[in-house]
Symmetry: C2
Amino acid sequence: MRRTKEDAEKTRIAILDSAERLFLERGVAHTSLDQIARDAGVTRGAVYWHFQNKGHLFHELLDQVRLPPEQLAERLCGAEDEQPLRVLRDVCVEAIVGLAEDEKKQRIFTILLHRCEFTDEMGEAAERHDAFVRQFIALFEKQFTVVTSRLRPGVTPQLAARALHGLVIGLFTDWTRDPPQFGREEVQRIFDTLLYGLLDDWRP
Amino acid sequence: MRRTKEDAEKTRIAILDSAERLFLERGVAHTSLDQIARDAGVTRGAVYWHFQNKGHLFHELLDQVRLPPEQLAERLCGAEDEQPLRVLRDVCVEAIVGLAEDEKKQRIFTILLHRCEFTDEMGEAAERHDAFVRQFIALFEKQFTVVTSRLRPGVTPQLAARALHGLVIGLFTDWTRDPPQFGREEVQRIFDTLLYGLLDDWRP
DNA sequence: CTGTTTACAATCGCTGTTGTATGTAACAGC
DNA sequence: GCTGTTACATACAACAGCGATTGTAAACAG
């Protein structure tokens, strides 16, 4: 019984939602396409119609929340010259706080960080994510390079970038493991704390 | 052809080693016990003789590197009153540097952080790990509580603990994703940086 | 109104994986 | 030298999951 285009889009969404729920509950590898289809009220035929395979399904799931790298780069380099580090801090704070406010984001990042295996048999999803992370660090480093002279003695732009990125990833990881942690103010204070350690003229 | 006890122990080790290699390459869920057995030069019978199932095998693999929580607590609370935060910092630095120096530790933590799914069907391994992490944070917080008065205004022991733990986890994650990063001095400088942001009287 | 395409459902064949049960040869103790 | 046990190998049964193919009714384009 063929449906209209809107109906088709609805089942597409339903499949994605079911995948999200089941991936979160049982892990990506431990969830079969049949289970997803059943949960969405369709058969595997529908899943294979909308998605090539599990890898692509997972990939499209991630793309629902992962902001495109270009957008990130633009955001970071847009306010050129002005107050690059303040923008950098705000981006980091937004990332964490955005996680707290958006439950879907929370679930999908939980899947990404705790419920899936990064192996090349999962297709381009893994590679793209790794590339994303590397670019993230590179952008950090670039921003710190601009203000090299303000860094405390012994602190290189590279070191600062690694530290800041580590903190972001770590907070993401801890947050998704055990959600109700802290609000915007506290997140901002954490990043201010690290930045104050990196630059002696940092003022929140 | 029955072997002597030492032989048996050798095949046990061989199975663990093969599991380590294959888990790292393909992920835990995507590795079958038959593949592990073949790689170790035995059959699945041997695997089932030494381990109840894949979950237990994974569990014993982790126990090869994860230091027992009691040991950690002792280490942190042992030098009571003296310089609790310095011990705390050294523990964090040791954790990261230890990773760089011990390749086995590196592989196993890579599996733990990037090649496995934390779901309850994996048995007690997941629970134990989560409990470990929580205790870790609790210990951090306890240490910071001792020196509450030295914390910068607005910084609570809880906040400090979350931040420090986040940084540790984040550096672990980044390191295992892309190993050749930095040496002991730089790691120490990173933690000193954060601690200096947390306490105004911190001196490396 | 009709042909084509869409959006699935149903079925099939195959392989991979798990758990268990049974066989078996050698070692260790007596 | 016999025996029970150990340390596996082999065999068996059952299922799950994938990918492909085929079927089909309804939507849509002309």
